[in-house]
């Protein structure tokens, strides 16, 4: 008897590990996705290490020289280092600016995504679990939210709230939570009817515990897919708002702000000020989307052979 329980206990984590290993294996089968993952890893690493690897601290006004402004890629800065990507309108090294800009862009995207995910998860779970009028009201609001294009909602919100990191995060949360809520509700509706939920309830577990410990873990696969897509979307949206001049202020130069600064020099042929931050933004989004695409394939049980 005790032997049996022992082997069972030993088997359980092994099986879980096996599943995870199989997931990793399947993910790595696709070379494009691996490339995407590598791309994101490098970008995140660059952003995290920005203060160490950037040749210049773009916030440090003592080190930025106006004489360096609008230099083409490869020019020599007065400080002696080479500005491989050129410099912007006030003489900041563009490569350093991009590294620091990545930090802000990624931070805004991740923080807003995380808050939106938590909010959406709880709301979606509550809707599916309790059903009835609560579900009706919640899903109406979700439908209303999703029927309006996110760029419009975010733009109006930021217009009303004003500039600032906290405000743009709030706006991004508002446009994202509904996607999570809808996704979680969809899978939670299926899970709710299964026996293990009934078992948990008959054991006398509270609603909260049943929802968070029993139903939620089984709804996470589609959420992970949504999360990748939404993070890419949030980063792109923040850049768009900042470009339009209603997003982050000049003191928080995200990639969008950098691109926006370069716009005025565009028509005189000084392309690099807008071009390179845009490439960085593009690579970030492409990387996330490639990984998200593969996750969707791997995590979708219908596609499993």
């Amino acid at each position: 008897m005790s032997d049996l329980t022992l082997t069972k206990k030993a088997e359980a984590p092994q099986k879980a590990k096996g599943e995870f290993a199989r997931f990793v294996e399947r993910f790595l089968e696709d070379r494009v996705a691996v490339f995407g993952l590598a791309l994101i890893s490098v970008i995140v690493l660059l952003a995290v290490l920005a203060p160490l690897i950037a040749p210049q601290n773009p916030y440090d006004l003592g080190r930025v020289d106006i004489m360096d402004s609008r230099q083409p890629p490869g020019a020599q800065a007065l400080d002696g280092f080479t500005m491989w990507l050129g410099s912007d309108g006030v003489g900041r090294d563009l490569w350093s600016g991009i590294l620091y800009g990545l930090r802000i862009s990624l931070m805004v995207g991740l923080v807003s995504g995380l808050i939106a995910a938590c909010l959406g998860l709880v709301i979606g779970l509550v809707a599916a679990y309790f059903g009835g009028r609560i579900e009706n009201v919640i899903m109406r609001i979700v439908d209303l939210q999703l029927s309006l294009p996110s760029v419009l909602v975010a733009l109006i919100l930021v217009a009303l709230l004003g500039k600032g990191v906290d405000k743009i995060i709030l706006a991004l949360v508002v446009v994202q939570w509904a996607y999570y809520a809808r996704t979680v509700r969809g899978s939670a509706l299926v899970e709710r009817r299964k026996e293990y939920v009934e078992a948990a309830r008959s054991l006398g577990l509270s609603h909260t515990r049943t929802m968070l410990r029993h139903i939620l873990p089984n709804c996470l696969a589609p959420v992970i897919v949504i999360a990748t897509v939404q993070t890419a979307h949030a980063i792109s949206l923040e850049a768009t708002l900042s470009f339009l001049g209603v997003g982050l202020p000049q003191t928080e130069p995200s990639l969008g702000v950098l691109i926006s600064n370069g716009f005025q020099y565009m028509l005189s042929g000084k392309y690099w000020i807008s071009f390179f931050p845009g490439v960085a933004l593009l690579l970030t989004i492409v990387g996330i989307n490639l990984v998200g695409d593969r996750l969707r394939d791997v995590l979708n049980p219908r596609l499993e052979k």
């Binding site: 309006l148 294009p149 760029v151 691109i259 028509l267 695409d293």
Partner: protein
Amino acid sequence: MLAFIIRRVAQALFVVLAMVVIVFFGTYVVGDPVWMMVPGDATQEQVEQVRREFGFDKPVYLQFMLFVADVLQGEFGRSYVHGGSAIGLILDRMPATLELAFVALVMAIVIGMPLGLFAGLKPDHPAARAIMAGSILGFSLPTFWVGLMLIMFFSVMLGWLPATGRGPTTTILGIETSLLTLQGWKHIALPALNLALLKISLVIRLARSGTREASLQDYVKFARAKGLSPRRIVGVHILKNIMIPIVTVLGLEFGSLVAFSIVTETIFAWPGMGKLLLESIQRLDRPLIVAYVMVVVLLFVTINLIVDILYSALDPRVRLAGKNE
């Protein structure tokens, strides 16, 4: 059928009402609009006078009721900056935006359909892979940055197409349009392509998956067995069947094209209502912002309503599904 239509119209009205409430309290919570209208050195009396003139001294519920009454009459107050009627200013700019969105929509179909069809018919062809990679890129590219690159490439480096403005317009049947002159087409080409980019990727994906699904259907096998030419099978049998969902999706996407034109119009200085909205946001011209939001919400609700009703007319299952809920 009638019951379904009545229920959907009621739902649509509810959405509009909800938006009126949100917009009113949204603007109300944000701050006292009086301070945006008076000069910085205004005296207390002047401030009070402006407050009375615009009715800001009344209690909230009364202001709200007046606001609703105005909205019902299609009146959103006067623009703080331009002085004219806010809704009038928006409607003046609307044709330019609709023209841009429409051309973008047509572009999405004309460019996206053949590419998607090809990718669906020959999924392993290198060109098909390139098309699909391109469509991922199309989803990932931030619209505003593509706009900048289009200007840089076609206007600054090659000098082929103008980067800003709408060019000369001709008036036909009371509508100003730039589609009747070559110069007008040159002006609309870049902004429309910029706006269409996301939708081209969407159409490619829809057309590809639709084609792949349709090629396995019995009617295609049957047509092939009958000895019809591949061109006829693709052009008539497959194309017809994948067109319906694509046109539906694009119909729904028209609203989002109008919304995204805010970005495109700003970059290309296209004189539409999106550019007007952004200017209003920067100048805190509240009546214009409110008028724009209400116009766009109305546009959205109407499009959704029409699509829903058409759907239920074509497919009775939609009606029944609603009843069971």
